[in-house]
């Protein structure tokens, strides 16, 4: 059977078309160009016309370039030899290690049968009070970090990865700045976590389309480890770059855009990746944290908007802090009843008081008269921001809860907090 063709009929954007027979949908092919060999994938079949997306970009491809069909869809190697290694978006080594090809598995496999999932029940401790106390992260949760471009979302992800008690960390970088890639690698190394990590890195310097594979390849590997009973944490950064690559291909393929140029299936595409987060009935789990930058700090932009409908809550990163309003962990109720008796009380009361503080601030800026109550709130709000919201604070949950009581006791009389008498008697610090 003929698998090599020498005539490219059409080149548009990063999509090339060839006439070929007996090609299967989503099959891979290699195309040779002046710059070397790059990987492509079948994205449309129409009669004998085959459209292929070129992961390394179509620039430099000649009309007589050699196209060789490989006869299989995208696969990744899987073994414990992956640990400690760094790969590109298409699975080739980025470090100086050997090419791995054992145990090849298809990526982008079928979804998990809901009947084989269980209700998540284990908390992931991060040492960050804004997460542990107020929006607890739960094993198998899928959660994006929404932020504008300049925010420290990568350090936040790295910190969570270092402190979370998981077996394996998989980092999928999409359009990552080279500095950020090195930052991740060095942080993992310094903390001795590199040997249990796998990095799939697509940097901003690489062709855009190549990042399309990163989530699938990262999650396929994560899935295999989870099936072996491992608890896997997957970090994806930045999913907006992934969505933009989808957009680029959709436009080239002349698909009708739905919203701001993004294809109509953006929701399904993102969901297919996020829904890989799972707690298996009788095996391990996958927890996914994904940075999603919001162009123009606009949460109604199609990428964060569609993401919000898929994920189980979100963290808003604003001014270097996790914003208490808008941030939400949808699964926190499943675990925060079992940590400490005062967890939910602290969580609700401190946020309600902080909301009142914001109102007082607004009043102050409008020039309205400040009451004693307003002054108390302002004292409280400032301490809360400094001692709890600051991302540099690193204390375990129990210490954070104790600190919460201390701050409240320093600022208010017990009755002013609206906390039930029962809890006050048990937890209010005695002077």
């Amino acid at each position: 059977m003929r698998r090599i063709y020498n005539r490219v009929e059409r080149i548009a954007g990063n999509v090339i078309s060839v006439r070929a027979q007996n090609v299967s949908y989503r099959e891979l092919a290699q195309v040779a160009s002046g710059r070397g060999v790059s990987l492509t994938q079948v994205i449309r079949l129409q009669g004998d016309m085959v459209s292929l997306q070129v992961f390394e970009g179509a620039r430099g491809i000649a009309t007589n370039a050699e196209v060789r069909f490989l006869g299989h869809p995208m696969r990744t190697a899987f073994s414990s030899a992956l640990l400690g290694r760094v790969f590109t978006g298409s699975g080739a080594p980025r470090d100086r290690g050997p090419v791995l090809d054992e145990n090849l598995t298809d990526i982008g496999g079928p979804s998990v049968n809901p009947a084989k999932r269980i209700i998540p029940r284990r908390m992931i401790r991060t040492g960050i009070p804004m997460i542990d106390v107020f929006n607890t992260l739960v094993e198998s949760q899928k959660l994006p970090v929404f932020s504008v471009a300049g925010e420290p979302y990568n350090p936040l992800l790295a910190r969570i990865a270092m402190q979370a008690e998981v077996d394996i960390i998989i980092l999928g970088g999409m359009g990552l700045k080279h500095d950020d890639y090195l930052y991740f690698r060095d942080t993992l190394e310094e903390n001795g976590a590199l040997s249990r990590s796998i990095l799939f890195i697509h940097t901003a310097a690489d062709p855009t389309v190549e990042c399309l594979m990163v989530p699938d390849i990262s999650l396929a590997v994560a899935e295999r480890f989870a099936l072996q009973g491992k608890r896997v944490l997957v970090l994806l950064t930045d999913m907006t770059n992934f969505a933009d690559a989808l957009k680029e291909i959709a436009i080239t393929m002349e698909q009708i855009p739905s919203n701001r140029g993004y294809p109509g299936d953006l929701y399904s595409q993102l969901a297919a990746r996020y829904e890989k987060a799972v707690d298996f009935d009788g095996a391990g789990s996958i927890t996914t944290l994904a940075a999603t930058t919001m162009p123009g700090d606009d949460v109604t932009h199609p990428v964060p908007d569609n993401t919000g409908y898929i994920t189980e809550g979100q963290f808003y990163l604003r001014n270097g802090r996790i914003e208490p309003f808008g941030s939400l962990s949808r699964l926190k109720q499943l675990v925060n009843g079992k940590t400490r008796a005062d967890h939910r009380t602290i969580m609700n009361s401190m946020i309600q008081l902080y909301a009142s503080y914001r109102e007082s601030l607004e009043k102050m800026s409008m020039g309205f008269r400040m009451s004693d109550w307003d002054r108390k709130l302002i004292k409280y709000g400032e301490r809360f921001e400094k001692e709890m919201m600051d991302l540099n604070v690193n204390i375990p949950l129990e210490k954070a809860l104790d600190l919460g009581w201390i701050i409240m006791a320093d600022c208010f009389e017990p009755a002013e907090t609206g906390i039930p008498t029962r809890m006050i008697e048990q937890f209010w610090p005695k002077k």
């Binding site: 027979q21 007996n22 090609v23 299967s24 949908y25 989503r26 099959e27 449309r44 079949l45 129409q46 009669g47 869809p73 496999g109 079928p110 979804s111 998990v112 049968n113 809901p114 009947a115 084989k116 999932r117 269980i118 209700i119 998540p120 198998s140 698909q255 009708i256 855009p257 739905s258 919203n259 294809p263 109509g264 299936d265 929701y267 399904s268 969901a271 297919a272 996020y274 829904e275 799972v278 109604t300 199609p302 908007d305 919000g308 409908y309 898929i310 189980e312 809550g313 979100q314 808008g326 939400l328 949808r330 699964l331 109720q333 609700n348 309600q352 909301a355 009043k363 409008m366 309205f368």
Partner: protein, 576 residues
Amino acid sequence: MTASHGKIAGINGNMLTVEFDGPVIQNEVAYPVLNDLRLKAEVIRIRGAQADLQVFEDTTGLRVGGPVEFTGELLSVELGPGLLGQVFDGLQNPLPELAEKCGFFLQRGTYLEALPRGRKWEFKPAAGQGAAVRAGDVLGSVAEGMFTHQIMVPFNLPGRYTVREIAAPGSYTVEQPVATLDDGASRAQVTMLQRWPVKLPITRYAERLRPTEQLVTKIRILDSFFPVTRGGTYCIPGPFGAGKTVLQQLTSRHADVDVVIVAACGERAGEVVETIREFPKLKDPRTGLSLMERTIIVCNTSSMPVAAREASVYTAVTLAEYYRQMGLNVLLLADSTSRWAQALREMSGRLEEIPGDEAFPAYLESVIASFYERAGIVRLNDGRLGSVTIGGTVSPAGGNFEEPVTQATLKVVGAFHGLSRERSDARRYPAIHPLDSWSKYPSLIPEDQLMLARRMLRDGNDVNQMMKVVGEEGTAIEDFIVYLKSEYIDAVYLQQDAYDEVDGATPADRQKHMFERLYSVLMARMHFKDKAGARKFFQALTQATKDWNRIPMDSDEFKAAERRITQMLAEVTPNA
């Protein structure tokens, strides 16, 4: 009829273009064959010798020239005893059985029978030999959990029949014949199992009635302010995180209906898992049995194949109509209809149809309308009533209700429960907006009292807006009291603590009782020295009323708490 054959001519995502010989029916089921896998697909367009098929599975690996088998049958579901308590995917494959067979993942091309074939049911004949019957008439019954599941003359039999044979009482499987019917020309054997094409409504009833009887959900803001009736329709649009799904889950637990069908369409798998794992443990307050025994879950979560989303909605509504034919009240909860509309959009794009707003197809409105129109309360041939109520969530992009799916839905539903980001951020649950939402159905609260409460909410909101500009010191005390009263309605009546056993579910009689107390507070002419005094009074009153909400109704404590509220009120209304 012999089924046709075809060859794949093109592949674009989950759409195939197929060249065929012989006749092909619009919407018939076909199977593209890949090695030993047969993938289910549906014909959605025919042009000359080419048909376009949407495949309900991942199309990876299919080739141009590959064979396609047509079946000559429309996409159908199995109807019969054994549906209740099951968890199906959008094509009615039972998921637990699929898990036993395939393990952790949903393998494509594996299809299982929806109804257990080996299970025997105790059949009790009802129709006698020689009786004249037509489609939908009762031939006998079996006991399915707490219900009498009626075995009916198959809905697809046209005309009138005479019962020639009817099975003796005893146990039968769903495939064993239980009756033989004769229409003079031919004989038909009837089993307990019948099939019905999902995209056609089951209309074997005498007439459709106007929905008037209220469906109590025990959620106060719904039952009192924005009610739903049996056989009615409603929609819940809202931005992400506003609590659409929680609201649907609460409704599925507390709604006063016989059968609940949950269609989880294109949403998170985790939420379905909660329902699957929790419902068997929860008790139905009406019967004391497990909630699962009155529930069917049809789920096609967001990562499952897109085309099957559309199928899942139709599968669910067909199951609902089947139970309605037995004279039962059925509630169908679809979460979320936007995902289904998006599936339509994806397909429409691949078919290269001319797009409407936001690239949704031009026929979006009529598709949504005909889906909601399958709800209704009906009088069956023998005079009994049955109903299907449909409640659908909508997930508008950016939380903006001006988008095509929300607008198309609003045109055809009887009630609108709009969720607001503002209210959910303020932790005011359920986050249904009291000023934007509406319902065309009658409430259990007298109209004039409800009008007053609504006016108070609106006026209170106006005062609050004004206060933001002129400050508290620039507001008259009368206006300030109106504002406090509106906040009071919100805090003690509209908001409800879903995690509290008593407050979480308020039955109809308690709502009426509560509303009377609320009404007396709203009507009271109160006197306060200053605003601080007014605020303090309402804080205390709110606290006392919230405590009252958490006390079971038939207790002495309940009466004592109510007396306390009356006394507090008397202290500030000297002339009353």
